[in-house]
Symmetry: C2
């Protein structure tokens, strides 16, 4: 599918979009956050909300209706809450775009404008969920907002991000091994980020570590860190700090300064040092999370190998009924 | 101040409100979440966003302007990020309401429609931040939305909630001691809730435990629990589950069923059992967090006494520069 085609189809059927709801569960919800943050910051015609899919079904926003667009992501395509949210959207007349990895799944329904994505290492970022969402929103903004200025910069970013990610993955390989060697047996850690990348602190925690490594951890917003959570900081506590490039970076830098002074065990994953600066300053915020996701994969793979805990091992998900 | 008076003043100056931004840091941000959840769910004229204050300053939403209302809360009244957010709102012509405990502080500025609240145990909930926010929004909805149906039920709820909270505090006293006795030395715990009360899982974690007890913990959404975090669950992990009454309760119940089957150490704080049902079903969702906040105070006080770690002891906040 092409982003401009799906936008054109939706605008033909719905005239205009005033509300964009980003709905999914777990890792797929993480993938939708940069799009949410983009609309919230940049749009002059659309409002937005981002929530776990079941919240939308149980407490539907009164304004969801025929000028709403639901962007729903489900990797397996049959996640009950996400399918229900897509159907709830359709029931109030909203446009729906589903992103799924799985042809033939419930999300692969023609009435939901399904976008089937591949997930392989060789696939371009603009063909994976975070990139697809940015591409779709970029087309939507171009059509709806005559004074929208980021169109070319976002498209250029979507072309450049693959090279950045590939170089960064190589660059951090040894660091991830050293991290795993040093901290594989740690009882607990905190993961911090801000801006659009707060989602990657969340995803690193709940998917990469809690789900895939059964490791206890907590995600924090690096700005909020100073309003409570920093009181636990000492030389024994382990932190991972994801530093974005962009206007939100100052919050991450403040956290780094504090950790340098009062902490001892902290790993910095710095998007700027890893080359994200090749993307235009006007929109770099929205690309940090794509790079950080690749970094979480690198770190969790190193942890898997050192801990001998397969990333795909599950004791509940897909194993027992719940 | 009275809620209807401030609403009337703001509507006179701004004609109508189309966007409500809830901006604060840490515990004050927690207090604003039920209001955010209320507007997102119930309003047909207003959109909303909830974010740590500095995000608003660094990446201001393009739509913030003269028909926006910023509700800003700062207990001490001089929180730099919150004051900056209020000023940023004023600069784009938005209406501002500041909630603060501190007369004479920067938030106590006539141009920000300051609402000075007291915090003592004897003060009614409708005069504390979570209640003030609901009261203000209730008046705003009444004026702006002719088909708004919750006005009387919310006002009744604001009258009833004090009795509910007082009875619940008595009822859980012994439980909190038993909890502290059993778990005071626990390395780590997870805290779960959903709906408007997700904020109380967040606040319990970052304020009551991380800040006030230097205890490691992580907040989780009980719906999201099944999409990653539940993989760490076993008989050794400790959970606190805050169960709401309302449409979101089914998510909390699902988490309870899972914990009963696969966990062993979990504390349930059930708003229904604690009497929240006296409030009308149509709006009970928005009152759960007020009750849960009182419960977090009860539990953290029991932990303080058992652990001999004063709730007010700080090693960084207000002690060092950062």
């Amino acid at each position: 599918m092409k982003a401009n085609e799906v936008v054109s189809k939706i605008l033909k059927e719905h005239e205009k979009i005033t509300d964009v709801y980003f709905l999914a569960c777990g890792g797929s919800l993480v993938d939708l956050y940069p799009g949410f943050y983009f609309v919230q910051t940049e749009s002059s015609t659309m409002h937005t909300a981002w929530m776990t899919a079941r919240e939308f079904v149980l407490n539907p926003p009164k304004q969801a209706g025929k000028n709403s667009l639901l962007i729903v992501c489900s990797h397996g395509g049959n996640t009950k809450e996400s399918v229900e949210a897509a159907n709830a959207g359709k029931a109030v007349g909203a446009a729906v775009i589903t992103l799924t990895h799985t042809p033939g799944s419930k999300c692969d329904d023609p009435s939901m404008n399904p976008w089937i994505y591949d997930w392989a290492d060789t696939v371009d970022e603009k063909e994976k969920p975070q990139g697809i969402v940015l591409a779709v929103l970029n087309e939507l903004m171009k059509v709806q907002e005559p004074d929208y200025k980021l169109y070319d910069a976002i498209n250029e970013g979507l072309e450049k991000i693959d090279g950045i990610v590939r170089a960064a993955v190589k660059k951090v390989q040894n660091r991830t091994w050293l991290f795993a060697d040093k901290y594989y047996d740690e009882d607990f850690l905190y993961i911090m980020a801000s801006g659009a990348s707060y989602s990657q602190a969340y995803g690193f925690a709940i998917c990469s570590l809690q789900e895939m490594q059964w490791m206890d951890c907590c995600y924090l917003h690096s700005g909020e860190y100073f309003h409570g959570p920093f009181e636990v900081t000492d030389e024994e506590h382990l932190y991972i700090l994801m530093m974005s490039k962009g206007k939100n970076r100052v919050m991450d830098e403040r956290a780094l300064t504090f950790l340098q002074k009062y902490g001892k065990k902290y790993e910095v994953i710095d998007a700027e040092e890893l080359g994200i600066g090749a993307i235009d300053d006007s929109c770099v915020e929205y690309f940090n999370p794509i790079l950080f996701y690749a970094m979480t994969v690198a770190y969790r793979t190193a942890l898997q190998d050192k801990r001998r805990h397969p990333l795909d091992m599950r004791r509940y998900m897909g194993v027992v009924e719940y």
